[in-house]
């Protein structure tokens, strides 16, 4: 090997060393109970968006659960322990997913009256047997054909303009419209915007959204406006009543937040369940996935909507009405429109 070849090799090695990376990668915790606990705790510590708002001392929770981790000997026990730690967040958007179980926090609705009885809405007074179905909506004219009633139980059920146009056409001679989103646990935010857009006559700021910009509990971006546009061709300009209960959650909560600003809308029923933080996902070394609230949303007045949105008219189902086959909340909505 001649000298020029040696120089070239040395030069190549020098260039290689110059550009080889020395940007430090974050430390990945080992796949042990302790390592997985630390990884999960850290994900929440750095990414969960409501630690300050909910006044949760996450460091203290670390101390409490760290001692418990040392006592765990099975995956089942470890899962339950981590689920318990996550439930300290009191957040329906927080779940731990393993191959054998999914943790959840449901007290945001189980601790409250349900205010919804599905058998009631299908009695002949409301939807009956011959109700129509389009784009995830079950709908029918009620109150002697004077009011349109639409039940929408899942914001994951896609609908299109054509569905809504035909439903509104069917209700054209009605005095008002009831949209029942009780027990609607959410779905796609896009659909909540789309559904709300049919009830606006002009674009309006209906909320704000922020996101975490750093690992600190209060590191948030400047909130950006969430606007609800007015649909160009399909607009319902008669009264509309939105029915809510505690299981109106997440994307449904976002829909109600928009409808609070709609010109002819009234929210009737119970306070929504909340779920104002858009969830993101991450995972821990053993492969379990964690979902957590990461992107907080606010109403038009910059109030948090994580704990729910108060209705304009608060009313609960009464057992007396239930016995008669009446839905107290629908009845109140009918009276408001009449």
């Amino acid at each position: 090997m001649n000298s020029s070849m040696k120089k070239l090799i040395v030069l190549s090695l020098f260039i290689a060393s110059l550009f080889s990376s020395c940007i430090d990668e974050p430390i990945v915790q080992p796949n042990t109970y302790k390592g997985n606990f630390e990884a999960l705790w850290q994900i929440i510590d750095t990414k969960y968006c409501y630690l300050d708002y909910k006044k949760i001392n996450w460091d203290s929770i670390h101390t409490v659960y760290k001692t418990k981790v040392n006592l765990v000997s099975t995956d089942d026990d470890f899962f339950d322990l981590m689920a318990g730690m996550l439930n300290e967040l009191k957040d329906g958007h927080v779940n731990l997913y393993s191959d054998f179980n999914k943790s959840r926090y449901w007290k945001w609705f189980t601790d409250y009256p349900s205010n919804f009885n599905s058998s009631l809405i299908y009695n002949p007074r409301y939807l009956g047997d011959n109700y129509r179905i389009a784009g995830g909506f079950n709908y029918q004219k009620i109150a002697n054909g004077t009011i349109g009633y639409m039940y929408y139980g899942d914001f994951s059920n896609t609908f299109y303009d054509n569905n809504i146009a035909l439903i509104f056409q069917y209700f054209a001679d009605c005095r008002g419209l009831i949209i029942d989103v009780r027990d609607n646990g959410g779905g796609y935010l896009d659909l909540s915007e789309q559904l709300a857009s049919y009830f606006f006559t002009q674009e309006k700021v209906t909320g704000y959204m922020s996101h975490k910009t750093g690992t600190g509990h209060s590191d948030f971006s400047k909130p950006v406006e969430i606007k609800t546009p007015a649909h160009k061709t399909i607009q319902w300009q008669a009264p509309v009543v939105i029915l809510t209960n505690r299981l109106s959650y997440s994307a449904t909560n976002a829909f109600v937040c928009r409808m609070k600003q709609a010109p002819n809308a009234v929210i009737v029923g119970d306070k929504t369940g909340g779920g104002g933080g858009m969830p993101l996902s991450s995972e821990i070394p053993n492969g379990w996935m964690v979902r957590f609230s990461a992107v907080p949303m606010f109403d038009a007045n910059m109030n948090q909507i994580e704990w729910g949105i108060d209705p304009d008219v608060k009313i609960s189902l009464t057992s007396a009405d239930e016995t008669k086959g009446y839905d107290t909340i629908i009845e109140r909505a009918i009276s408001l429109i009449k």
């Binding site: 990376s21 990668e25 974050p26 959204m209 858009m278 992107v295």
Partner: protein
């Protein structure tokens, strides 16, 4: 020394090549290499997961290189297109990541001829990266985009190694990003937030050696057979970049195989084939 001229049909430019039988006129040949690679990628994308995903991938690469002018053989231009895809798993095999990406680059090299059969090409290459990574089980953050443009430093060491039956063309290629611009979302931002509401602040970043370092190394040997020249080699990609307190990495080792040939194309009004070149358009 025996010369090889392999003329081929390129894309939709209809040409039929025949060996040039005159030395009076110089034509610029384009050296084209097309390779296919099987790879083992390792990816860290903390927007999607804090864990390292590893698996298998494949890539297709086309690279063209030619001089600017027939009478100046010191400067050459090169362009290359790489399409790559990979399927990876997390260490616990409980989640998968799909990667699909494309990279196009154009650059210029200066040729240093050191001794007979040995030369170094040094220059720069501007490239554009576009790809996406998808972790299907993620909720609201299932996809992260790879978007970047870079000015790279490039270097090639080329050595023609004669053996008893043929001359092997050995090549070592290095490429490293120097400066550029890249898209890196904030770890807490959703794509709804960024692209529906336009909250794109701190999503685009200037990159240089302070936050982006990488080295692409390709070692190949071109082996001429009777009617074709085959390329065999290894490709190592090491890339690491940091923005918004997130450190991303993409390391990949590929075994590549393909062909390389010299070609000439005639198209348009100014690049008309000489009379002794026959085209199916004639």
């Amino acid at each position: 020394m025996k010369k090889y001229f392999i003329l081929v049909l390129i894309f939709n430019v209809s040409i039929v090549g025949k060996a040039q039988n005159t030395d009076s006129q110089k034509f610029l040949l384009t050296t084209t290499s097309r390779t296919f690679g099987i790879s083992m990628p390792n990816v860290i994308d903390p927007y999607l997961s804090p864990l390292v995903y590893g698996g298998f991938g494949m890539n297709l690469n086309q690279e063209n290189r030619r001089y600017f002018k027939p009478d100046n053989i010191r400067y050459s231009m090169q362009d290359k297109l790489t399409l790559s895809a990979g399927m990876m798993l997390n260490p616990a095999f409980s989640s998968e990541m799909l990667y699909i990406g494309a990279n196009y680059g154009w650059g210029v090299n200066y040729h240093f001829r050191l001794t007979k059969g040995l030369k170094i090409l040094a220059g720069g290459l501007w490239d554009v990266d576009f790809g996406f990574k998808n972790v299907p089980r993620n909720i609201n953050n299932p996809i992260n985009l790879d978007m970047a443009t870079n000015l790279n430093l490039t270097g090639l060491l080329i050595y023609d190694y004669p053996t008893r039956r043929r001359t092997l063309h050995l090549q070592a290629a290095l490429q490293a990003p120097i400066i550029g611009y890249m898209f890196v979302p904030q770890g807490g931002a959703s794509y709804y937030d960024m692209f529906q509401l336009g909250s794109l602040s701190n999503a685009f970043h200037f990159s240089s050696l302070h936050n982006k370092r990488g080295l692409n190394q390709t070692y190949t040997v071109d082996v001429p057979f009777n009617h074709s020249t085959w390329r065999f080699g290894l490709h190592f990609q090491n890339l690491k970049y940091k923005a918004n307190n997130l450190v991303f990495a993409h390391n990949e080792t590929s075994v590549i195989v393909g062909t390389t040939f010299d070609a000439i194309s005639f198209s348009g009004k100014k690049k008309v084939a000489p009379q002794n070149f026959m085209s199916t358009n004639d």
